[in-house]
């Protein structure tokens, strides 16, 4: 360290960086360590054990919540990614009036406070008389997943030579063939990267889900919140650790795929 990046020459960069990483990751490390704690009281260390993981995997309620989470995340990801791809293609096609406004609208869910979206979505579902359940969770998740899927796809498209689709058309490919044979193969790392981001965002969501989930539609974050209200138990640590693992896996994959064939 210190050779390449001139940043390291500044006084105080190292301690600041160190403090920053500790500040960010110490709580997570504590959680990880305690998830392997044998003691029933989650905050007092005795000896190493993996028993809480077994307890978690054996708990029907937790497994049901996990299954709900995966169902919602998978379906919301698929729909959001398709919509995001179409939007990105449309935006890349040509300059048209109102394009900037549409661009901002697509990214809007990233900046609107989640609690506002949650209340508004709940209100909307109640108004149109839609019964709260997995369907409403899926619908709400699709909406806030779109910008996360959209951004990597758009970035990928922007890096593409605009002459490529023209070359395909010049070589007798109709619009669909040009998309299938030229655009999609070049776009797919962006699509995959966007889909994985969307999946993680959906899996992780609490606020909106908490508002629009009905009785039978509890997802994992909502279930964990319920457990925490009774007290921090070793099971909570273990589930959280498992979710962290899945998140890291997907984010790394998303990053790696996004870099493919750049």
């Amino acid at each position: 360290m210190g050779g390449g990046n001139p940043l390291w020459r500044f006084v105080g960069v190292r301690p600041t960086a160190l403090f920053f990483f500790v500040y960010l990751y110490l709580p997570i490390i504590v959680l990880l360590v305690l998830s392997f704690n044998e003691n029933r009281t989650a905050t007092i260390w005795t000896t190493f054990s993996t028993q809480w993981y077994a307890v978690v995997l054996d708990n029907d309620n937790i497994m049901r919540a996990a299954r709900n989470s995966v169902i919602v995340a998978t379906s919301a990801t698929i729909i959001a990614t398709i919509l995001a791809t179409l939007a990105a293609l449309g935006m890349a096609r040509a300059r048209f009036r109102g394009q900037d406004a549409i661009s901002a609208t697509i990214a809007m869910p990233l900046v609107v406070p989640e609690i506002v979206t949650a209340v508004a979505t709940l209100l909307f579902f109640v108004l149109i008389g839609l019964k709260l359940g997995l369907l409403t969770v899926f619908l709400a998740h699709t909406v806030f997943c779109i910008p996360f899927a959209y951004l990597p796809i758009r970035a990928r498209l922007e890096g593409m030579d605009p002459a490529l689709p023209e070359a395909a058309a010049d070589l007798y490919a109709n619009e669909w063939q040009a998309f299938r044979r030229v655009i999609l193969p070049l776009l797919w790392p962006g699509v995959a990267s966007g889909a994985m981001l969307a999946f993680i965002i959906s899996l992780d969501d609490f606020v909106i889900t908490y508002f629009v989930a009905g009785a039978g539609a509890t997802t994992l974050p909502v279930y964990i919140f319920g457990m925490i209200r009774i007290g921090i138990t070793p099971e909570v640590n273990a589930i959280s650790a498992l979710m962290l693992l899945v998140s890291i896996l997907f984010v790394s994959l998303s990053y790696l795929v996004g870099r493919l064939r750049r």
């Binding site: 002459a163 023209e166 070359a167 010049d170 109709n174 063939q177 193969p185 070049l186 064939r261």
Partner: protein, 362 residues
Amino acid sequence: MSESSGIAVRGISKTFGSGADRVQALDNVSLDIRENEFFTLLGPSGCGKTTLLRLIAGFEQPSAGDILLDGVSIAHLPPFQRPVNTVFQSYALFPHMTVAQNIAFGLEMQGMARRQVDERVAEMMTLVQLGGLEARRPAQLSGGQQQRVALARALANHPKVLLLDEPLSALDLKLRKEMQIELKRLQLESGITFVFVTHDQEEALTMSDRLAVMSDGHILQIGAPAEIYEHPRHRFVADFIGEINLLDATAAEPNGNRVRYRLGGSQTLLAEAADAPPAGRVSLAIRPERASLEPAGEEGLAGAVESIVYIGADTVYRVALADGAGNFIVRVQNRAGARGAFAIGDAVAVVVPPEAIQVLSD
């Protein structure tokens, strides 16, 4: 060759944007490109060459006018239905496909059988001398090789017309010269009409059967290279192509089938009269190699040698004409070796044969 074969561009205009951003890229352009011809669009940056090419390819729609191919309008066909192929300036090779897959793409899209596709690809690889590189990706090729793949990919379809937008501009000088010869060979062997875009006048002169000189959305002159070079009809064309002397003059008296032009003071030049010689203020355009230098006193433009530049085969004299008639460049072949007959400051006469003068109305 029938009347209607080849490309006919009829009164094409193209504007981009609207309001303050409005750009008139082409203004009522008409031209005929014959079958099997190497036709070049030549002009400075921004004159509308690429726009004209993209209209023929179908990537842009004309604001007005029509484009005919062999007598049939193609102006409203999408690009994938036009029997026209393009070599892009950026090559636009598909980066996720091999060289062979790139070349096969157009044939597959037209539904050609696998065996024929393979045969045609092999044939093309030989034609552009890329044998052995079939399985490479574009990123693994040099610029010159990519250029050849782009050519092969377009030519494989046996198009009626091949459009090339500055295809050589990304290559270094040596490769550029090689590819010029190569392109000319491919055009002759394939018998395909080439429409070639360049802003390099030397390239245009050496390669084309005919060329169109464009400026600011207009075509100024169309003709064979020698015609454009010897008989430019506009000041812009004369100035853009090669080196030329442009002298301001006014028509004096007709003299048989010749006209005497007055340059300023007592300086006059006798020029061959066209059918309707331009009157009033004109420019006289004279190529430096068509004039000669004689000792002062001979019949010609009087002046003094201002500078002498020896450039191997020729020597270039710059003469300051008397009576403020301007400067005149004379290019003299070094037949007798490097020893020139004149030195700086010598009084001389610039002799211009009447048939070497092109009279241009301003």
